[in-house]
């Protein structure tokens, strides 16, 4: 199976280790993984700010770069859902790549159906169920809905040796990132982040982990400013620990 690796811009610049973990994880499953070097961003920051039109060219070139792969895998739920659900509308036509773009968790859980992982991570973690992962990609059952409970991220994390996984109170309330929202509505965004952090820390976990580096970045920035005692790690890094 030929996999196109999509490493969203902020992962590229701020958290390259998340990209490396994803790559190693996919390779360890015996997959053929390529990283098209001309990729940049999914366009979501512009779209959420109200300038989706400015990402038209980017959307077309995303499709060009990735349409030849069997799957496009990204370690980011939010970017994945933007590509899958918004690219066709922005382009004004069906996008081949968009239909094949999946988040790493979805890919491992639903497509590769992994049942075991060699990773070890003897730590307590609090799981951050990020909004677009929950409510757009369906990585876990949204608490608003009356449907059977599930959590694909937790399923995967629990394959890791030594790990203890907690979920915070209000397990899928927004952390307040929201792209430009965190700049434009700084007061509410920060307050949401603080509240979320306290709930994560309240579980007694040493790490906050999740499928979206953007939420982690937001919370990390707020935690650092207040010197809150918690560390951050992307799900991909835990699942690949020891590779």
């Amino acid at each position: 199976m030929k996999i196109g690796l999509f490493i969203p811009c902020y992962v590229d610049a701020l958290y390259p280790e998340v990209g490396v973990s994803t790559y190693k994880l996919l390779r360890s499953l015996g997959l053929d993984v390529y990283y098209p070097e001309k990729q940049t961003c999914c366009g979501q920051p512009m779209g959420n700010a109200g300038f989706q039109d400015k990402s038209r060219k980017l959307v077309e070139s995303f499709d060009e770069l990735f349409k030849g792969f069997d799957y496009v895998v990204a370690p980011s739920a939010s970017c994945t859902s933007y590509v899958r659900f918004f690219h066709p509308e922005i382009a004004g036509h069906e996008c081949e790549a968009a239909g094949k773009t999946v988040d790493l968790v979805e890919f491992l859980h639903d497509i590769m159906k992994v049942k075991s992982l060699p990773a070890k991570f003897p730590h307590k973690v609090s799981l951050h169920n990020s909004c677009h992962g929950v409510r757009e990609l369906g990585l876990s059952s949204p608490t608003e809905r009356n449907i059977p409970k599930f959590n694909k991220i937790k399923d995967l994390l629990q394959m890791v040796e030594g790990i203890t996984v907690f979920e915070p109170e209000r397990p899928d309330e927004c952390c307040g990132f929201g792209g430009m929202f965190s700049i434009e509505e700084i007061g509410v965004s920060t307050k949401m982040g603080i509240d979320k952090l306290h709930r994560h820390i309240g579980t007694g976990a040493e790490f906050i982990t999740g499928p979206d580096s953007s939420c982690l970045m937001h919370m990390q920035g707020i935690a650092a400013k207040r010197k809150l005692p918690v560390k951050f790690i992307h799900v991909a890094q835990i699942l690949s620990a020891g590779l």
Partner: protein
């Protein structure tokens, strides 16, 4: 440049205790709602059914309206049509004048709020008394509601006490209230005892019910099949408002229509469960015909609704049954309060309705959303609230309401992301930012650093790592 919502919200969050209380209050309603939703195995089917019934009704609105009006007339009810707020206010005034009405008692109606009815009546010398307890408190305080279902939940009992003292209600009704509780009036007053306050309000309202010449209600639903309206309250005040006065006027938005009793059963199961976490409202009152000796009028109000029907992106707002759940779940509403929004209906549905009503003012609310999509998932009629907010944002630039900072940033991103070469070289220099004196980076990113420390750029981007050996194909 910040929107009005952002500015007011930034003020609101300063008082941590207040914002935490506000958040906790509405979150507890969300929790109660979830418990109710999880008690009904058919919950998601009900939502789907409700959504489809609403879609069906609003897409056949003219037929159902005719049917409703015809049946209402057959029941001996006078039916009026108002195309906008002004026409509506005129019709009400005309009916009141014909009956020499001096005082009106009203049960809660967001439509009268939308049309500014109270001001119009007061202006014409008619005494208007809100009878929903929360609404009455706000009316006495001279402030607007901050939520559509729990309009005064942000007011503390101490504030209510102060207001009741101020308005002479405690002086007049306090002794009666204390006696009815077999309590010591001075103690009850000093403690701003909630039961004492409700008793005072009860005696105060009772007198108004007895002396009013007209009772006005809204309508949660209008049933086309029978020509009746259904009003849901917890206090029974709609029934009190209509039981004594010889005149009953119903104000109903044309989107409140549903086809028949069978559909009513679907909505009845959803409304209170979803709105307040109760299995049902305490009173579900059906008004079909006037009492003997009473006159009943129904005013069907358009006020922009048929324009919304023709709006491809936003017609779904007409499915809304004003349960308030999207506000309760909205993490932004809970942390910014109803008064941070520029439209009288706040929260997710208010952002959208406000834009439909007056975008030149209400664009100020479009920032109040992190696009978490929680509102879409609680809505009992599946209004696509967050999608609509996203769509409004795309239109702000052409409406000349785009934020210049966001526009500049988006333009910068476009240039960078459209040119992979530029993007890559920008990343190559990015680590330099880490070495700059922090006051410089703080200045550049000042809004972000209000709440956050700066993120650190990695020493080497993934791009660079890939090139320098990660790629194991070669």
């Amino acid at each position: 440049m910040s929107t009005i919502h952002a500015k007011r919200a930034n003020e609101f969050v300063r008082d941590t205790e207040k914002v935490d209380r506000h958040d906790a209050t509405f979150w507890s309603v969300r929790v109660k709602r979830d418990a109710m939703a999880h008690m009904l195995p058919e919950w998601e089917n009900l939502r789907e059914a409700a959504s489809r019934i609403k879609k069906h009704t609003v897409t056949h609105l003219a037929d159902y309206l005719e049917k409703f009006a015809e049946n209402a007339r057959q029941n001996g009810v006078h039916v009026h049509w108002a195309k906008d707020a002004a026409e509506y206010n005129d019709i009400v005034l005309k009916i009141l004048n014909e009956h020499d009405v001096r005082k009106v008692v009203k049960s809660k109606s967001m439509l009268t709020e939308e049309c500014g009815l109270n001001d119009s009546l007061i202006h014409h010398g008619i005494d208007v008394v809100e009878t929903d307890l929360g609404e009455r408190i706000l009316q006495l305080m001279g402030i607007p509601p901050s939520h559509i279902v729990m309009p005064a939940i942000h007011i503390t009992r101490e504030q209510v006490m102060e207001c009741f003292v101020d308005k002479g209600i405690v002086e007049k009704e306090g002794q009666k209230a204390a006696d009815s509780m077999h309590g010591d009036r001075r103690v009850l007053e000093a403690e701003a005892d909630p039961t004492f306050l409700t008793r005072c309000a009860r005696f105060h309202l009772r007198e108004n019910f007895m002396t009013a010449d007209c009772g006005m209600t809204g309508a949660n639903f209008g049933i086309a099949e029978t020509g009746e309206v259904v009003v849901c309250t917890n206090e029974g005040n709609a029934d009190m408002s209509t039981s004594i006065p010889p005149l009953h006027i119903v104000s109903m938005g044309i989107e409140k229509l549903i086809p028949d009793y069978k559909s009513m059963a679907v909505f009845q199961r959803l409304l209170a469960r979803n709105g307040t976490g109760q299995p049902t409202t305490v009173y579900t009152s059906h008004f079909r015909k006037p009492r003997p000796g009473q006159e009943m009028h129904i005013i069907l109000v358009d006020n922009g609704r048929s324009d919304i029907l023709g709006n491809e992106d936003h017609w779904q707002t007409l499915k809304c049954m004003r349960c308030g759940a999207c506000m309760n779940t909205c993490p932004v509403y809970r942390r910014s309060g109803g008064y941070s929004y520029t439209y009288f209906i706040p929260g997710p549905i208010g952002i959208n309705l406000g834009m439909l009503k007056n975008p030149d003012v209400n664009f100020n609310n479009c920032s109040a959303c992190s696009l978490c999509c929680s509102c879409d998932n609680v809505c009992p009629v599946k209004v696509d609230l967050s999608t609509q907010i996203y769509k409004w944002r795309q239109q702000l630039d052409s409406m000349h309401h785009a934020d210049p900072m966001k526009k500049a940033m988006s333009e910068g991103m476009k240039v960078m992301f459209d040119h992979p070469g530029l993007y890559t070289s920008a990343l190559r220099v990015a680590p330099v930012a880490n070495c700059m004196p922090s006051f410089l980076t703080n200045l550049v990113m000042s809004p972000w650093t209000y709440g956050h420390s700066m993120p650190e750029f990695a020493k080497k981007s993934f791009h660079q790592l890939w090139k320098s050996g990660l790629d194991d194909h070669k």
